[in-house]
């Protein structure tokens, strides 16, 4: 079944990608990574192609989403389409599988509760406009 990647994120800037199935899995509540069948390297966000050995033979793999906060910023100024959401906190977290995840921190986390190295959980999130994404929640 064809899935448009246009469903990912509040605003999606692209619609076609070989990893569009990521959105279908997200709808099922799963956060998926890809693993290169040839060298075994894990990719998140998922990639369709492995640059290390030029392989395109990738397998989907469910991903724990358990991670720790590396760094963050609270944005008070936003690009087009996000103006009404400010302030929101953009974060980078390091997942136990060894890859990083870039996402917003859940609005449930108060600013004074945020600290670097805190435990977080990458979680699917349905947006009010019907689209789907993931966010970082308190673990």
């Amino acid at each position: 079944m064809f899935v448009s990647f246009g469903k990912f994120g509040k605003i999606s800037y692209i619609s076609e990608t070989k990893v569009a199935d990521f959105v279908r899995y997200l709808e099922e509540g799963k956060i998926m990574a890809t693993r290169c069948s040839k060298c075994g390297k894990l990719y998140f966000p998922p990639r369709a192609d492995c640059p290390d050995d030029l392989s395109t033979d990738m397998m989907w793999e469910e991903f724990s989403g358990r991670c720790k906060l590396l760094t963050y910023t609270t944005a008070h100024f936003a690009p087009t389409g996000f103006e009404d959401d400010v302030p929101y906190t953009i974060a980078l977290a390091h997942c136990e599988e060894g890859v990083n995840a870039y996402a917003l921190l859940s609005k449930d986390i108060k600013e004074n509760e945020i600290y670097i190295d805190m435990d977080l959980q990458l979680t699917p999130l349905r947006l009010p406009n019907g689209k789907i994404t993931y966010e970082l929640k308190k673990a």
Binding site: I14, P45, L70, A75, H76, A78, P79, P87, N100, Y102
Partner: protein, 382 residues
């Protein structure tokens, strides 16, 4: 054969300059050719540099080459966002070094007020990885703010130290007639300014501007006939890092700058301590502090201390951004690298007026494209 810079030029950086891009470029070009023995017809090739998302004109190189009277000589466009004109200088260097051309004009420009604020804001959102990061509403200040937060966490760098970079910038802006903001700013003003992307506040960020710059390069042999004060391009380093923030491994320094500096120092056969004056890419205050460290002016983590001790003022260990930097000059993307090179060339020629660093022999330019995506370091010698 060595490669020299024989002329530099720049327009004032401003908002609503009242000129079209061709006229902005003409003004910088004319300024670069002033007082040197070279006419437009003697220039063998031109490299036109800007960030195309701000241009109304499709393929500006042809238009600008025509307006500057450079046809039928070779021209084309070079882009690495904020470091486009440093990339242009690297290409110009290669042209001359290879013997393909004797004289090359590198013209950088940006007219950011050409498009509406809404259009600018829309483009800002697309500076990150549009597939996996832009859907979260990110933009340039947020990217550098994440570096600032990590740097503060790891090294204890403070918001006061960040603010002190802007205080220095404000002080020197008063001496630069081409700067967009010519105003001294107090530490309190910086610290009390509204948040843009925490911990970065208004005065931690540079502003969009209109402007153009021009760097004329020539072979050593030609250079001697063009000017009595050529400046030698002693080292050029360029490197890249991932466009995405997700795949960065270093969050407290720009790997592309560290790599570029390594190449440039090796080529110039100098150590960081031999640099007399530097221009660094202070698009945000944290960027200047990381630049001190990434260029080897201090150890990793000691950048905050270096500004705290005023070591990057004139008279300090290494004067940095004595023209006010991007924070005060404004940042017309494609013109910025050429403007930084102009400042260093004037310093090495002894023509920097009230901001002259006495006896400057070696100067360095650090120009970064994107959030640490394209690193460019150029070392110049008298």
């Amino acid at each position: 054969m060595r490669v020299a810079i024989v002329g530099v030029g720049q327009t004032p950086f401003s908002r609503n300059c009242g000129m079209s891009i061709r006229e902005l470029c003409f003004e910088a070009f004319k300024d670069a050719l002033e007082d040197i023995n070279l006419t437009p017809k003697e220039i063998d090739a031109s490299i036109i540099c800007s960030a195309p998302e701000y241009d109304k004109q499709r393929s500006p190189a042809g238009l600008i080459s025509e307006y500057l009277g450079l046809t039928p000589k070779s021209t084309f466009y070079a882009e690495s966002i904020c470091s486009s004109s440093s990339t242009g200088v690297k290409v110009g260097f290669s042209f001359i070094k290879s013997g393909l051309h004797d004289t090359v004009a590198v013209i950088g420009f940006q007219k950011m007020s050409e498009i509406s604020s809404a259009e600018v804001q829309e483009r800002m959102g697309r500076g990150a990885d549009v597939q996996w990061e832009s859907p979260f509403g990110t933009m340039m200040p947020a990217g550098y703010a994440m570096y600032a937060r990590a740097h503060m966490q790891k090294y204890g760098t403070t918001e006061e130290q960040l603010a002190k970079v802007k205080v220095k910038s404000g002080k020197y802006s008063l001496l630069n007639p081409l700067a967009m903001y010519r105003r001294a700013v107090t530490l309190e003003e910086c610290l009390n300014a509204r948040a843009i992307a925490t911990p970065l506040k208004l005065y931690d960020c540079c502003a969009n501007a209109d402007g153009a710059s021009c760097v004329i390069m020539a072979s050593e042999e030609k250079a001697k006939k063009i000017t009595d004060t050529p400046v030698c391009v002693a080292g050029i380093g360029a490197a890249s890092d991932t466009l995405s923030t997700t795949n960065r491994t270093n969050l407290t320094g720009l790997t592309c700058a560290i790599e570029a500096a390594k190449h440039a120092y090796k080529m110039a056969r100098i150590e960081p301590k031999e640099v007399d004056v530097a221009e660094v890419h202070d698009c945000f205050t944290i960027a200047e502090i990381m630049a001190y460290e990434n260029l080897g002016f201090c150890k990793p983590g000691e950048g905050g201390k270096l500004i705290e001790e005023s070591q990057t003022y004139i008279g300090g260990k290494i004067p940095v951004n004595v023209d006010g930097g991007l924070l005060s000059k404004g940042h017309p993307i494609g013109a910025t690298g050429g403007s930084q090179i102009r400042t260093i060339v004037l310093q090495l020629q002894g023509g920097a007026g009230k901001t002259q660093v006495d006896g400057a022999e070696v100067g360095l330019v650090h120009n970064i494209g994107g959030i640490g995506v394209y690193g460019n370091v150029t070392i110049l010698r008298r």
